[in-house]
Subunit: 569 residues, 2 copies
């Protein structure tokens, strides 16, 4: 990574060029961008920087790269990182990108930071990181993209807003804005983050600035309280999308509900999953459960505590007997519901009666509440989830990454299905079968949102091992197809699967993707904003794709598993 | 109204031509449309039909007209009504509209049925009126546009789904789909209808058919349970919009919460409004109040029971003393909260303690619950709201219309403001002042949604009286400007105010409207779908508008009141 001041000293061959852009074009674009944001806020990336660290790792890679790369490590390499400090600077960068046809890849504070090769990463979080407003009266806030859950939480605590809760996902280090834009979720009653947003300011691909909802009214006093405004409601267009760069976003905050109690129900048998899911759906839709509790398998809890090597010498995929032993050792079930109740104690007592009566019908079920810890005593997953379910940001779940190797990588597989026991079990078996085939332990959790079942599968792998990386890639690729055959679709994914997943959502001759492409061509005729995000390519680059090798071209991995020969599970 | 078979007998001068369309073009378009939908399903409208009924009323006007016209009665006159029977027929009509440049004005089952003069009304509700699916397991349904709240309710009752509640707005005769598309609301915890929809099927202006959310996945089993799918989320684009015709729409249904209790808090003083709104906001955001209760003034209740002439001989705007008398006569307060609690009795008892302790702090407050009625005993507004708050469709509130004359008309004024006492009072005084100036009684209700205050003002007028119609028009026009000066914007309106309101949402050099126009030009290049809806005009017709006279051109109405001279309230 080199400062813009040294741009002239970088050789032409060492620059990472985007499609259709010449060396001179890229140099001119970067110089002009630095005139907008200041030379300190443009970093140029060179091929020379791609040398691995001494231990063969790439953990010190800066923001222009996909930290958890699953493809070759330079696949999604950016040409530079630009850090704007205001909406006017974002607008200026966007106009320059149009002038030079340089693709931009905006990110808030994320980890998967690569984009189309040669893109300029627009690091929205670096300097635009302020809490712009908090209304104690309305229980709302207005944020810039660089505010993390930790920072928002701290801000509220330090400024007399202890009464306002936030809703953090499993890891609190990410951007509140970024998470909502990618339609992430957390675990309080405000856990569905897009539903709980209110108002956006967006820089459009032509550089114009728009405010949505009531923000379109000058001197609006309801931008953060009423979502819609007048006329078509566009906010959803800017989620999982490349139609604009969000520079401000409003959120609703939950006031302290007047009481809180986390709980854990543990179930002894792997085969209990269908019954658990059936009960959770009924209680969730029936409004007895107020949030989205997680139904976690043994190994996800085990991975939070320690790497696999602490439990076994085996390098093989763990079988049921081994998992039973681990469950016993860490004192959890094969499946575990971590949930919470929100409200005054008499309300919670009524809820608890219903919860206990329901889940304790499953033979072998047990429950517990988090107990005060003696100084130095072990913190259990229940203690950790007690914080998460209250919206308190943390990083406990980073333990997953180390399951098979220190500082490992993660690939997610996140299909949506009906919230039924049959579907939960079908997915669970589908994934376990593929994971066994490709050599991965099943680590996962099921979450019932408003009505649907999110299955969050965590494939942990060693990115420094090319074979393992390719197995991971191929395994998820096959699972996407397996899932589609059963009518299940993913709600989010890694860059390298975006085209595949978009192609699966192909009802009506692919009318959904065609609609997105039509909007893209209208809003971004030069195709400069995040080309290929969510499978939506601009006309200029359509059909080229990320030039990702399909993993079937890889040699030496699970050859028996091909999409065509996959039996219907 | 004439059947398509008689088209050749209608003289050229008698046809209602849309802009840019010749007599031959309109004739050809209608003939070809009748080949798609069948000749029984096309009705041609002629100028001759516009003669008033014997009593000078127009109540028997068919669907091609604005029933509650405020402008001249032929202002929004359609050329024909076409009733498609399937999504394929809708698609076929849209393609023909593109061929002949005939504007289409889709409606579900609505009342404001006119559109751009000469448009062909696409009566979505006439034949596409099926409940396509109900899932008892997921508590969802999938509907065609012609299903009314009454019909959905009856369907559920008759098909063993008594456990599933619906959420009806004040009048149950409208379309469930249409209400959600115009972002209407009801009064159960599922009252915010767009939030509670899940999945759409849309015919785009080019005739292509798209399914949103998980519907984009072939054989999807979660179309009605998960809202988003993968990639940009477009559903909001099809609300209050002219970007597509929705042919199917999914909804979440609330399962019986296990208990229900409606209540009424009455407050004796006109000046109690600010305190009431402050308390409602706190309890609503604090999740003690689970739905959107209404804060109604005396006269809205009075109007439900009987016309003004039953209470007074006065034709003047009623003053406080007169309203106090009416309040006493009908046994309500000057302001009245009609609300309900949802859940088992022990839960409700806890809620009730909080509600009672809060609202009874206001001096003179009283409360009551609906009492069983003896056979033939009078049904109170509380009895009526008990049904509405439970989602049971009804038409009680039609009484408003008759306040000043039999079969009167209604104009709504619906600004959004912060949910504070100060703002509620400012709006209330603003509207009363204008209503006094123009000669209308204030009839209104305040509703706290998720966080914002909806002020629903009902201006009732006699449409057969041109002077009264013009006063109504002018009064609302001025109120829109009054409200904008205070940062308040309307969330819905009559056709004749759409351009004005869209022009008020003009932050950032009108970027929101420009964005909508850009989408319109991309999706509907021929400008055939509902031109001018929500102020969004296609390029072909932009700047022409509805050719509505600004009411300032009218003679003889409250000349002192001009936008420019309005004092800041």
């Amino acid at each position: 990574m080199t400062s813009i001041g040294s741009l002239s000293s970088i050789s032409d061959q060492d620059l990472i060029l985007p499609p259709d852009v010449t060396v001179d074009g890229l140099r001119a674009a970067l110089v002009e961008m630095s005139e907008i944001v200041g030379s300190n806020n443009v970093k140029v990336y060179t091929k020379a920087t791609m040398k691995p660290d001494k231990d063969g790792q790439y953990f010190n890679l800066p923001k222009e790269h996909d930290l958890f790369y699953v493809l070759e490590k330079d696949e999604f390499l950016a040409s530079a990182v630009v850090s704007p400090g205001s909406v006017e600077e974002v607008s200026g960068i966007v106009k320059l990108a149009n002038k030079y046809l340089v693709p931009l890849w905006p990110c808030s504070m994320g980890r998967n930071l690569g984009g189309l090769r040669g893109s300029v990463v627009v690091d929205m979080g670096a300097r635009m990181n302020k809490v712009l407003n908090v209304s104690e009266r309305d229980c709302t806030c207005l944020l810039e993209p660089g505010v993390s859950y930790f920072e928002l939480y701290d801000y509220l605590q330090k400024n007399g807003h202890e009464n306002l809760w936030i809703d953090s996902p499993d890891l609190g280090g990410g951007s509140v804005v970024g998470n909502a834009l990618d339609r992430g979720a957390g675990y309080t009653p405000y856990g569905e983050h897009f539903s709980m947003h209110c108002g956006m300011e967006v820089v459009l691909p032509n550089g114009k600035v728009m405010r949505t909802g009531m923000g379109a009214l000058p001197d609006s006093n309801t931008w953060q309280t009423f979502q819609y405004g007048f006329g078509p409601y566009p906010d959803g267009l800017f989620t999982q999308s490349n139609f604009g760069i969000v520079t401000k976003m409003g959120f609703w905050l939950m006031p302290d509900p007047g009481g809180y109690q986390a709980y854990l129900f543990s179930f002894q048998n792997d085969s209990d999953l269908p019954a658990i899911v059936e009960y959770v759906r009924q209680l969730r839709i029936g409004m007895v459960i107020q949030n989205a509790p997680t139904i976690r398998n043994t190994l996800i809890d085990a991975a939070v505590y320690a790497p696999k090597s602490e439990y076994t010498n085996s390098k093989e995929v763990l079988g049921d007997a081994e998992i039973d032993l681990i469950a016993k050792k860490i004192g959890v079930g094969r499946w575990n519901i971590y949930g919470a109740m929100y409200g005054p104690k008499p309300m919670r007592d009524l809820q608890w009666e219903a919860l206990k009566a329901t889940f304790m019908q499953i033979p072998g079920a047990s429950y517990e509440f988090p107990q005060p810890r003696a100084e130095g005593a072990k913190q259990t997953v229940l203690h950790m989830r007690e914080e998460t379910l209250k919206g308190i940001p943390n990083t406990y779940e980073l333990g997953w990454l180390d399951w098979t190797c220190p500082r490992g990588s993660l690939l997610g597989f996140s299909p949506i299905s009906p919230a039924t026991g049959v579907d939960a079990n079908k997915q669970y078996q589908m994934v376990r079968k593929r994971f066994l085939e490709f050599g991965f332990d099943y680590i996962g959790t099921f979450v019932v949102g408003w009505r649907e079942l999110h299955h969050i599968v965590c494939l942990t792998f060693d990115k420094t091992n090319p074979d393992e990386r390719r197995r991971a890639h191929r395994c998820i690729e096959l699972l996407i197809d397996d899932a589609a055959k059963e009518g299940y679709g993913e709600y989010r994914t890694h860059l390298c699967f975006m085209d595949q997943i978009a192609s699966v959502y192909n009802w009506g001759d692919g009318s959904s993707l065609k609609f997105n492409e039509q909007l893209k061509d209208s809003l971004d005729p030069n195709g400069i904003l995040a080309p290929g995000k969510s499978g939506v390519w601009p006309a200029r680059l359509r059909g080229r794709g990320f030039e990702i090798k399909r993993s079937t071209e890889y040699e030496g991995i699970a050859k028996s598993a091909s999409t065509k020969n996959t039996p219907r599970l």
